[in-house]
């Protein structure tokens, strides 16, 4: 009896270890994440005097920029995640060939990821003005005649597509490297034999990529895409830095707009809270949909 007791205690202790190890994270999230999130949720369902209402969401849906913001965000997400994935996969495959100098090449390709948002902001702001370095370069290269200028950020409302394209390109420039490192890590763990087998059986580069590399890489691709998807829906900073508020409304830009630009308005906090909840719901649904479609849940069940 006396000998079994410490043994079972030790057993309980052993089973408790993982929970003790994750306890700090749980407490931390409770204080610094759950609390502010609940504060925003409550804010979204109450009016200025703290009484329950759904009016906030009605106001958001009636906001004239809501649907443009939704539309712009959707376009940015669909196009930019696609472009960024293809670019990142291409770079990862290239670097994984381990040519002479690939390590330095990798470092150079990672530089956009390391640059702070203020530095990239300064870079594009000085580049895209009419007398900026992009026009200067085009002038030196002979694409622009003397005195001729391209107004990259100019143009009125009807030119939204141009602005969208611009934002997508600038975003891709900065984001491709961070997506690429995840894919590269996955590629480095890929066994060479599988690929070689593919070539032995007469596959060319494309078929081996499609039938062998990408399927084995699937979990890594999921990780890279889901992280990107979640942050792509929340894009705003580069847009506000380049265009200011309201020129190209996107969902998170609206949150910041109501918080920072119109704080005097009675309903500004409610609007911001309402937008926040809508964004989180959209992000969660998109993430769940992606994970379901890509089969992340199925894999769990079989394990």
């Amino acid at each position: 009896m006396a000998t079994t007791k410490p043994k079972s205690l030790r057993k309980i202790w052993g089973q408790a270890t993982p929970y003790l190890l994750i306890l700090p994270v749980v407490i931390y999230y409770a204080i610094f994440w759950v609390r502010p999130v609940i504060a925003v949720i409550i804010g979204s369902f109450t009016d200025a005097s703290g009484i329950f209402t759904l009016q906030n969401f009605v106001m958001v849906f009636n906001d004239e920029s809501f649907f443009p913001a939704l539309y712009n965000t959707a376009i940015i997400v669909i196009v930019s995640v696609t472009i960024e994935f293809i670019g990142a996969l291409f770079l990862a495959l290239l670097i994984n060939r381990k040519f002479w100098g690939s390590s330095i090449f990798l470092f150079l390709m990672l530089i956009p990821m390391a640059l702070p948002a203020v530095a990239t902001g300064a870079m594009w702001m000085t580049g895209l003005t009419a007398h900026g370095w992009i026009n200067s370069l085009l002038y030196y290269l002979g694409f622009l005649a003397e005195g001729e200028k391209i107004y990259w950020l100019g143009g009125l409302q009807q030119n939204q597509l141009k602005l969208l394209a611009l934002v997508i390109i600038l975003d891709a420039w900065q984001v491709i490297p961070s997506m690429m490192i995840i894919l590269l890590a996955g590629l480095q763990n890929l066994s060479e034999e599988a690929k070689e087998a593919g070539y032995v059986f007469g596959g060319n580069f494309i078929t081996v990529l499609r039938k062998i590399t990408i399927p084995i890489l699937q979990p890594t691709i999921q990780t890279a895409v889901i992280l990107r998807l979640i942050s792509a829906i929340q894009i705003w900073l580069i847009i506000v830095l380049l265009l200011g508020f309201g020129r190209l409304p996107v969902l998170v830009e609206r949150i910041v707009y109501y918080h920072e630009e119109v704080p005097g308005l009675d309903i500004s906090y409610q609007m911001a809270a309402g937008y926040t909840i809508i964004v989180s719901v959209i992000v969660s649904l998109t993430a769940l949909l992606y994970l379901r479609v890509s089969g992340a849940f199925k894999k769990e069940e079989t394990v």
Partner: protein
Amino acid sequence: MKSKTNKKVIKAAKETVFYLFLTTLIAGMLLPVYFIISLSFLSTREAYQYPLPLVPAIKTDMELGYGERGYLLSVWDRIDKEYQTVLDTADLEKMEYYIKSQLGTKITEEELLIETSRLENSDEESIFFTKPRALLNNYDTFFTVTRDAVPALIRSLQIAGLTILISLSIGGLAGYAFARYIFRGKDTLRFSVLFVRMFPGVAIALPMVFILAEANLYDEPLGLSLIYSVGAIGLTIWITASIFMGIPVSLEEAAQVFGASKFQAFMKVTLPLALPGLAASAMYIFLGAWNETVAAIILTQFKPTFSVVVYQTLLGASGQVNLAAAGGISMAIPAIFFTFFLRKYINRMWGGVKV
């Protein structure tokens, strides 16, 4: 014999094309970076010119003549290829200041005095002289004139250090649990990284103002690092789990066979092996905390971070593009430095990460 050399030629040609392609890719990706670096070295006068000079000047050619109010200072314009008059003054102190702030060139009053007397003693209408550019002038000005730049730099380092400490200790424990144990809620924890990111960070920063104020941590480095850790912990769990998975359990078990406790086995065997990977994830956390701007703008008032100071130089009323570029580049240097080391650990950090 002939086909052998032929093959060699083809191989060499292929390689040349390949490296040409790589160079184009690098040039395309890094062209914008080149321009911001170049801009950070340009003088204020040149930074606002169109077309913008492609490379910073290393010297300033000046011409001194007689003007209506005193001496007429002209400067060689690299774009228009002519001397352009910029200043008409008898006040040499003013001229010295102008040359420093607008032309990014250092010249002392004595040197100006020598040049003016040279002009007076000559029969010419004007004289020419050349001074080397003070290339680091913008950096110098950014750190000395911008109020707060140096204290903000120190604060940013503090914040990044605290964020690393908090997220690596809390996230590392969970990452270890993740790599070594099977427990209930493991999947929830795995997805928590995603949950935390699904709620817009800006939206959380605002209620955090009150929560931090309650704890007297508003406008304090510790307060900001607590916020940064929310995002950083999640990724740290993923990354550290991946690192610990890469170290065989059998090593720990072997140590236990030789009488070490589980804790000792971890400290003496696993931790030293994990150290390089953990250092790499620390650098990764550093990048996030160092570069973050938005929450820092909302959550600081009198104690801004370095990124906020650069942001204000960029968008503030006294903002100057070449100074902002110098600030941005000084901010990017430590980040790029860490990235250089990080590239070796990509596999260890992300190899075991799966949604």
